[in-house]
Amino acid sequence: MPIQYYIFLALALFCIGVAGVLARRNVIIIFMCIELMLNAANLLLVAFSKMHHAAWMAKPAGIASPGADGQLFVFFIMAVAAAEVSVGLAIIVMMYRNTHSVDVNFLNRLKN
C-alpha cells in the first residue's frame, strides 16, 4: 500500500484532533482529541518505519539499516500518553470537583 494513504489518514486524524481541541469546550473531548493527535503521529512513525525498512530490504547494499527506531518511539509515546492520561484525568476530576463543570472556559484564572 503506498505511503500516501497512511500520510493522508494521519493528517486527517491530526486535523480532526486540532479542530476538536480548538472548537470543543468539554475538557474530556479535548483530551480525547489530544490522544487523537498523538496517535496520528504514532501512525506516521509506524508507517515511515515500515517504508524505510522495505526500501532497505529491496536494496540492502546501498543504504544503512534503518532499524526499528520509529516503532520503538511509538511505544515511548504510548507510555507517555498513558502517564499523561492518568495525570490529565486526575486534573479533570479535580476540576470537576471544584467547578462542577468540565467546560474549559471556566478555567480562565491563568490570567492572574
Binding site: L22, R25, V104, N105, N108, R109, L110, K111, N112
Partner: protein, 638 residues
C-alpha cells in the same frame, strides 16, 4: 635714571594693589585710608608714567626697547601669546592721560562720594582702581589678546560702576545694557583676532603690522571691519551707542572716568594702534569715516533737546567720539589722538563740573530747575565755562585745535565730510551753551530749599576742576597747526614713528594755507554767532509746562532709537526664547521623549489583552503560530 621702561609693569600694578587693598579691606579701613590708597595708587602710576614718557621722548628710544615680555600666557602649537606690554609713543601718551585724569577724578571722588557708607565707599574706590587697571592693561598690551583682556575688563568695570547703586533696578538695567552692548562689540574684536591668528599666525602687534602688507585685500578689509565693530561697541558709535547715555546711572565721577579718561577712548586707541591695517583698507576707512560722521551729527541733534545735565554731556561725548572716528577714517590719526587728549581734559572737566552742580543741587539733574548758579558757585562756573568754550571749538582753547585738525583732514579727503562736520560743530556750540546758560545764568528755578543750600563745593572738588580747566584751555598748544607756527605741532612729531607707515601710504593732499585759514576763520565766526545766540536765548529761559512738539519731541525722545531696538531686537528675542521654552522644549522635545515612553506603555497595554487566560485562545494562538512558522520555513527554505 635707569631704563624706566623695564619697570613699566609698575603702572598697572599700583591700581591693582589699590583694588585689592580697598576691595578686601573695605570694611575695616577708614574712609581716609581708602581715599589715600585709592588716589595714591593712581598718583604713583602717574609719576611712573611721566618718567616713561620722558624716556620715550628721549632720542635714543627705539620701538624694540618698549616691548616687555612678562611670561607666556597661552601657548598652543605654534601660536604663542605672551603676556607682554608695549611701551611706545602712543601708549605712553595714553598712560599719561589715563593716570593723570584718572588721578584727578579719584581726588574728586574722595569728596563727592563721602556720604556713602564706609563699606560702599571702599567698594567704589576698589572698582575705580580696577577700572584704571583694566584701561592701562588695554593700552599697554603688546598684542591683541592682552589688549582684549583690558578691553573686556573695562566692560566689566563699567558694568560694576554703572550699577554701583545696585538697589535701583533701572541702574542695573543700564549696567546690563552697557555690558551686553559691549559684548556685541567684543564679538567683532574676538572674531578679528581669530582671523588674524589664522592669517598671520601671531597676535603680536609688531608681527601683525609687519605682515600687513602681505595680507590679501579681502582679509585686511574683513579684519579691519571686525575690529571696527569692536571699536564701535566700546566707543559708542552707531548702532551700538545707546548704552553710553544710559551709563549716566552711575555716580558722576564714574561718568567722567568712562567718558574722558578710559573706556570710550579704547576704540580710538585700538584703531590708531592698528593704523597701518586701516590705511591698507580704504573701504573700511570710508565706513569708519561715515559712521563717525553720522554718529557725530546724530548724537548732536539728540543733545539739542536733552534736559538732564548729564545726558547732554553724554550725547556730546558720543558726538565727539564720532569726530575722532571721522579723523581716523580720513587718515588724520594724529588729529584723532589729539582730540582724545583734549577731549579727555574738557570732558572730564565738564562732567566733574556737572557733578559739582548736582552735588550742590542735592541730586537735581534737570537743567530746567537750575539757573543763575554763577553767583553761588564761582569756581565751578568759570571752569565749566572754559570747558564749554573748549568743546565748542573757540580759539585759542584746546578743542579748537584738535577739532580743526580733524576737519581739515576731512576736507582734504572729501569736502562733504567737512561741511557736515561743521554743521555738527555748530550744534555742539549750541547745545553746550544752552546747557551753560540754563545752568549758570538767568534766575534760579528750583525749590527754595535747594536755593537755601546752594554752595560752592569743597576744595577736593574744585582743585581737579581748576587743574582740568587750565589743561583744557592750554592743551591745544601741543598741536599748533602748520599755518600758525612752522613745526609747531609737537604732538605730531612725538607720534610720528607710530604713524610712519601709514603716512607713507597717504597721498600728500595738503590744503594750501589760504584755504585753511579761510575755513578756520569762517567756522570760528559761525561758532561764535551760535554761541551768542544760544547764550542770549537760554539766559531768559522760563519754565513752561507745555510739552514739546514735532521734531523737538522726537529729539527729546532720542529719535526713539531705544524703542526701536526694543521692538526690533529685544522683544522678538524674548518672545522667541519664550516660544522655545514653552513650545519646543516642553511640547516638542519633551513630548517626543515622553511620547516614546507613552507609546511603549500603550503598546504593552494592548498586548496584555492577548493574555485572556482562556486556555482555548492560548491553544489557538499556539496553533496559528506553528502554522505561521511552518509557512515561514516553507517559503524561505530556498
Amino acid at each position: 635714571m635707569g631704563n624706566i621702561i623695564q619697570l613699566a609693569w609698575l603702572v598697572p600694578l599700583f591700581p591693582l594693589i589699590g583694588f585689592l587693598i580697598n576691595g578686601l579691606g573695605r570694611r575695616s579701613l577708614s574712609k581716609g585710608a581708602i581715599s589715600f590708597i585709592g588716589s595714591g595708587a593712581i598718583l604713583a602710576s602717574f609719576i611712573v608714567s611721566i618718567m616713561i614718557v620722558l624716556q620715550v621722548k628721549s632720542p635714543g628710544f627705539t620701538a624694540s626697547q618698549g616691548v616687555l615680555k612678562m611670561f607666556d600666557f597661552i601657548s598652543v602649537d605654534k601660536l604663542i601669546i605672551p603676556f607682554a606690554f608695549q611701551i611706545d609713543q602712543l601708549s605712553s601718551l595714553f598712560l599719561l592721560i589715563i593716570t593723570g585724569v584718572g588721578f584727578l577724578i579719584h581726588v574728586y571722588s574722595t569728596s563727592y562720594m563721602h556720604d556713602e557708607e564706609s563699606e560702599h565707599f571702599g567698594r567704589y574706590f576698589a572698582y575705580l582702581n580696577l577700572f584704571v587697571f583694566s584701561m592701562l592693561l588695554l593700552v599697554m598690551g603688546g598684542n591683541f589678546v592682552i589688549m582684549f583682556i583690558g578691553w573686556e575688563g573695562v566692560g566689566l568695570c563699567s558694568y560694576l560702576l554703572i550699577g554701583f547703586w545696585f538697589k535701583n533696578s533701572d541702574y542695573n538695567d543700564a549696567a546690563k545694557k552697557a555690558f551686553v552692548m559691549n559684548r556685541i562689540g567684543d564679538f567683532g574684536f574676538l572674531l578679528a583676532v581669530f582671523w588674524i591668528i589664522a592669517k598671520v599666525g601671531s597676535v603680536d602687534f609688531s608681527t601683525v603690522f609687519a605682515a600687513a602688507q602681505s595680507l590679501s585685500k579681502t582679509d585686511i578689509t574683513i579684519i579691519t571691519l571686525l575690529l571696527f565693530v569692536g571699536a564701535a561697541g566700546k566707543s559708542a558709535q552707531i548702532p551700538l551707542y545707546t548704552w553710553l547715555p544710559d551709563a549716566m546711572a552711575g555716580p558722576t565721577p564714574v561718568s567722567a572716568l568712562i567718558h574722558a579718561a578710559t573706556m570710550v577712548t579704547a576704540g580710538i586707541y585700538m584703531i590708531a594702534r592698528s593704523n597701518i591695517l586701516y590705511s591698507l583698507a580704504p573701504i573700511t576707512q570710508t565706513v569708519v569715516a561715515v559712521t563717525g560722521l553720522v554718529t557725530a551729527v546724530f548724537a548732536a541733534t539728540i543733545a539739542l533737546q536733552q534736559n538732564d545735565i548729564k545726558k547732554v554731556l553724554a550725547y556730546s561725548t558720543v558726538s565727539q567720539l564720532g569726530y575722532m572716528f571721522l579723523g581716523l577714517g580720513v587718515g588724520a590719526y594724529t588729529g584723532a589722538v589729539f582730540h582724545v587728549m583734549t577731549h579727555a581734559f574738557f570732558k572730564a572737566l565738564l562732567f566733574l563740573g556737572a557733578g559739582s552742580v548736582i552735588h550742590a543741587m542735592h541730586s537735581e539733574q534737570d537743567i530746567r530747575n537750575m539757573g543763575g548758579l554763577k553767583k553761588q558757585m564761582p569756581v565751578t562756573h568759570i571752569t565749566f565755562l572754559l570747558g564749554c568754550l573748549a568743546i565748542a571749538g573757540v580759539p585759542p582753547f584746546s578743542g579748537f585745535f584738535s577739532k580743526d585738525e580733524i576737519l581739515a583732514g576731512a576736507f582734504s579727503v572729501n569736502p562733504v565730510y567737512y561741511y557736515i562736520g561743521v554743521a555738527g560743530a555748530l550744534m555742539t556750540a549750541f547745545y553746550m551753551f544752552r546747557l551753560y546758560a540754563m545752568t549758570f545764568t538767568g534766575t534760579f528755578r528750583g525749590t527754595h530749599e535747594q536755593e537755601h543750600h546752594l554752595h560752592e563745593s569743597p576744595v577736593a572738588i574744585t582743585f581737579p576742576l581748576i587743574v582740568l580747566a587750565v589743561l583744557a584751555a592750554i592743551a591745544g598748544f601741543a598741536g599748533l597747526p602748520e599755518v600758525f607756527v612752522e613745526n609747531g605741532h609737537a604732538l605730531e612729531h612725538f607720534l610720528a614713528p607710530i604713524f610712519a607707515e601709514s603716512a607713507k601710504l597717504k597721498h600728500a593732499n595738503h590744503l594750501d594755507h589760504t584755504t585753511e585759514i579761510t575755513l578756520m576763520v569762517s567756522v570760528t565766526v559761525l561758532i561764535l554767532i551760535t554761541i551768542i545766540y544760544a547764550w542770549i536765548r537760554f539766559s531768559r529761559y522760563r519754565k513752561t509746562e507745555a510739552d514739546t512738539k514735532g521734531l523737538a519731541r522726537v529729539l527729546e525722545n532720542k529719535w526713539y532709537v531705544d524703542e526701536i531696538y526694543n521692538a526690533a531686537i529685544v522683544r522678538p528675542l524674548n518672545a522667541f526664547s519664550g516660544l522655545l521654552n514653552r513650545v519646543v522644549e516642553k511640547v516638542l522635545i519633551d513630548g517626543l521623549v515622553n511620547g516614546v515612553g507613552k507609546s511603549i506603555q500603550y503598546g504593552s497595554r494592548q498586548l496584555r489583552l492577548l493574555q485572556s487566560g482562556q486556555v482555548g485562545s492560548y491553544i489557538l494562538l499556539m496553533v496559528l503560530s506553528i502554522l505561521a512558522f511552518f509557512a515561514l520555513v516553507f517559503f524561505t527554505k530556498k
